[in-house]
């Protein structure tokens, strides 16, 4: 009977001697057969909206500009003359430099723990299953921080799996935002609620759409601010830098695949937008490996924000943030255009009646 390790050795051997030598030198997926269509479809699939790579690129540049302006304002309120000097002060402050891997894991735990008791201020629906935090094992250090769903009965918890390799080259500045993103009120909250929604066909409990899931998680980062977290202005800078990072992705993913950007150009652009080098290196390779996936975050967040503004404007005093959040979560994951239609139906129903939910 064949064994696990010999099979892995054989697979490694196949990769090294046969497969890898046939790899492509070009970074862009558009260099493959049917390349233009291949990337255009990837963009549509990952964003779940009808948008072209060129439009995504433009949107990214605009968002980078907008968020940078917000960061500059924050720098000035902290007494710095410009954003660059604020950034330099943060990056040179030993307080935000992890000494070891465990410190990063503990940091994530701390933020998730402080958020848990605050959730009822923002949501009617609450996650019933537990969430844990662990480090990415060394053999998988090319992976990024991610979330693995648990079982609907909560017997196996959801897992936040954190990138910790080369800890001294990392920063703790973004941890608060990323902890809310992967844990609560981000992925763990959304997915564990979706898994147990009543009265929907089962396939809808497990639907997966990057734009919805990642958009929700990025939107969730900001919710910490609304209930009084990001108390340290540097952590608040981290929140903005985390958002900037997702806007940067719109620019560089389309840069790599649709505009022939070199890896150096990608890294330089990320450095210029304060992405630390350890992260920039794995991220550049990630966008190269996985076309358009990184676009999902910003596109989804912008849609949810827009729907929230719409609900606030239409409903005025009747607007209830808990009901709005429940409405985003209680239909399960779906493409953004269908989410928009669904939430707009709900807004209409709320506006005309006393407030019965439409469901569905």
């Amino acid at each position: 009977m064949p064994k696990v390790f010999p099979a892995h050795r054989k697979f490694a051997e196949f990769l090294r001697t046969e497969y890898d030598p046939k790899g492509r030198p070009e970074l862009s997926i558009e260099s493959l057969p049917d390349g233009k269509r291949r990337y255009a479809e990837a963009v549509k699939m990952m964003t779940t909206v009808n948008i072209t790579p060129a439009e995504v690129h433009e949107l990214g540049l605009k968002e980078v500009e907008r968020i940078t302006a917000e960061m500059t304002k924050l720098a000035q309120t902290q007494g710095y003359t410009d954003l660059a000097s604020f950034r330099a002060a943060i990056n040179n402050d030993p307080k935000w430099k992890p000494q070891n891997e465990q410190q990063i894991v503990d940091d994530f735990k701390k933020y998730i723990d402080q958020m848990q008791p605050k959730l009822p201020e923002l949501f009617g629906l609450l996650p019933r299953s537990p969430v844990t935090v662990e480090a990415i094992p060394d053999f998988a250090k090319a992976e990024s921080t991610h979330y693995v769903a648990g079982t609907p009965d909560g017997k196996r918890p959801g897992r936040v799996v954190v990138a910790v390799a080369d800890p001294t080259k990392r920063t703790l500045v973004d941890d608060e935002a990323v902890a809310y993103h992967e844990g609560v009120p981000g992925h763990h909250m959304q997915i564990s609620i979706a898994q147990t929604l009543p009265d929907l066909p089962k396939f809808r409990l497990h639907g997966f759409y990057s734009a919805y899931a990642e958009g929700w998680a990025l939107y969730a980062e900001e919710l910490g601010k609304e209930i009084g977290f990001y108390k340290d202005p540097v952590s608040d800078y981290g929140r903005l830098s985390s958002e900037l990072f997702r806007a940067v992705r719109l620019v560089v993913d389309t840069g790599i695949h649709d505009q022939n950007w070199s890896r150096e150009k990608v890294i330089d652009y990320m450095h210029a937008n304060d992405v630390n080098d350890a992260l920039a290196q794995t991220e550049a390779d990630r966008y190269i490996a996985w076309p358009a996936q990184a676009l999902a975050y910003k596109m989804g967040q912008l849609t949810i924000r827009k729907l929230r503004e719409e609900a606030k404007t239409r409903l005025g005093a009747k607007f209830d943030i808990k009901a709005f959040h429940d409405e985003i979560l209680n239909g399960g994951a779906m493409p953004l255009d269908l989410l928009q239609e669904r939430v707009e139906r709900w807004i209409n129903a709320q506006a005309s009646a006393g407030g019965a939910s439409t469901g569905g």
Binding site: V4, F14, L27, F139, K155, R204, A289, G360
Partner: protein, 244 residues
């Protein structure tokens, strides 16, 4: 010819929802049955996914990853799409209509992916069968002796899964669907890193207290034999949300 033209004219002047459309309740029932069949089929096709959802009917199996199976599943999905599209949605509630649209979109999206043969590039440094399988000990239930037997059964299927994935990647070589070099150069080291870290023996260090000594000893031997490794050190279509 004349007959066909007549038919077309008749269709054009007929009111939109007419005679052949079944009563709403029947259509909704048919659609719900189709949703359930689709869901059950998706679990059967992906035992790792079923386990991730806490459904342990396929807990002793790993999925089939061969080219033939990919083609079979595609045909199966196309058949679901045809059946779904044959159900008229007139008069359905918002919820039923949205469910209809969601499954239709999902199946159409799979169709596009299949036509692009995206499945021929299944492995990269962020996500591949090799790193997913290395997460297996953390992605399966290990509460009973039966769960351990299921785990051992899955370990024994890892070589088959890697063989099938190799076959698919060879088809990618033929079709010129190859990842970039700078992705590929990371992969052999990841495989060797998995061997060095040996995550597969981890369950031999975490037996539930209720297990007998004899069971622990036997299961440890079987796990070690399946892995073909000595000594101790310390996924699966688990839904992994890739990263932040």
């Amino acid at each position: 010819m004349r007959y066909i033209v007549f038919g077309l004219v008749l269709a054009a002047i007929a009111p939109p929802s007419f005679a052949q459309i079944a009563p709403l309740a029947d259509r909704v029932a048919r659609q719900n049955a189709l949703f359930e069949e689709f869901y059950q089929t998706s679990l059967k096709n992906s035992p790792e996914r079923a386990t991730a959802y806490g459904d342990y009917r396929y807990n002793s199996q790993l999925g089939q990853y061969s080219l033939a199976e990919i083609a079979r599943q595609h045909a199966e999905a196309d058949n679901f799409l045809k059946q779904l599209q044959a159900i008229p949605t007139e008069g359905m509630s918002d919820k039923d209509l949205l469910s209809h649209q969601l499954l239709e979109r999902q199946l159409q999206r799979e169709d596009v992916n299949y036509s692009l043969k995206n499945y021929e590039m299944p492995v990269n440094q962020q996500n591949g069968i090799h790193t997913r399988l290395a997460d297996l000990p953390l992605s399966v239930p290990l509460d009973s002796v039966e769960h351990y037997q299921d785990y051992i059964s899955r370990l024994r299927q890892i070589p088959r899964v890697l063989e099938q994935t190799t076959e698919v990647m060879r088809q990618g070589e033929k079709d010129g669907l190859m990842p970039p070099n700078l992705v590929l150069e990371k992969l052999p080291g990841q495989c060797e890193g998995i061997i060095a870290a040996n995550p597969f023996l981890r369950p031999t260090t975490t037996f539930p207290a209720s297990f007998s000594e004899a069971d622990k000893k036997r299961l440890t031997q079987e796990i070690t034999a399946a892995v073909n490794a000595q000594g101790l050190s310390r996924s699966s279509e688990v839904r992994r949300v890739p990263a932040h």
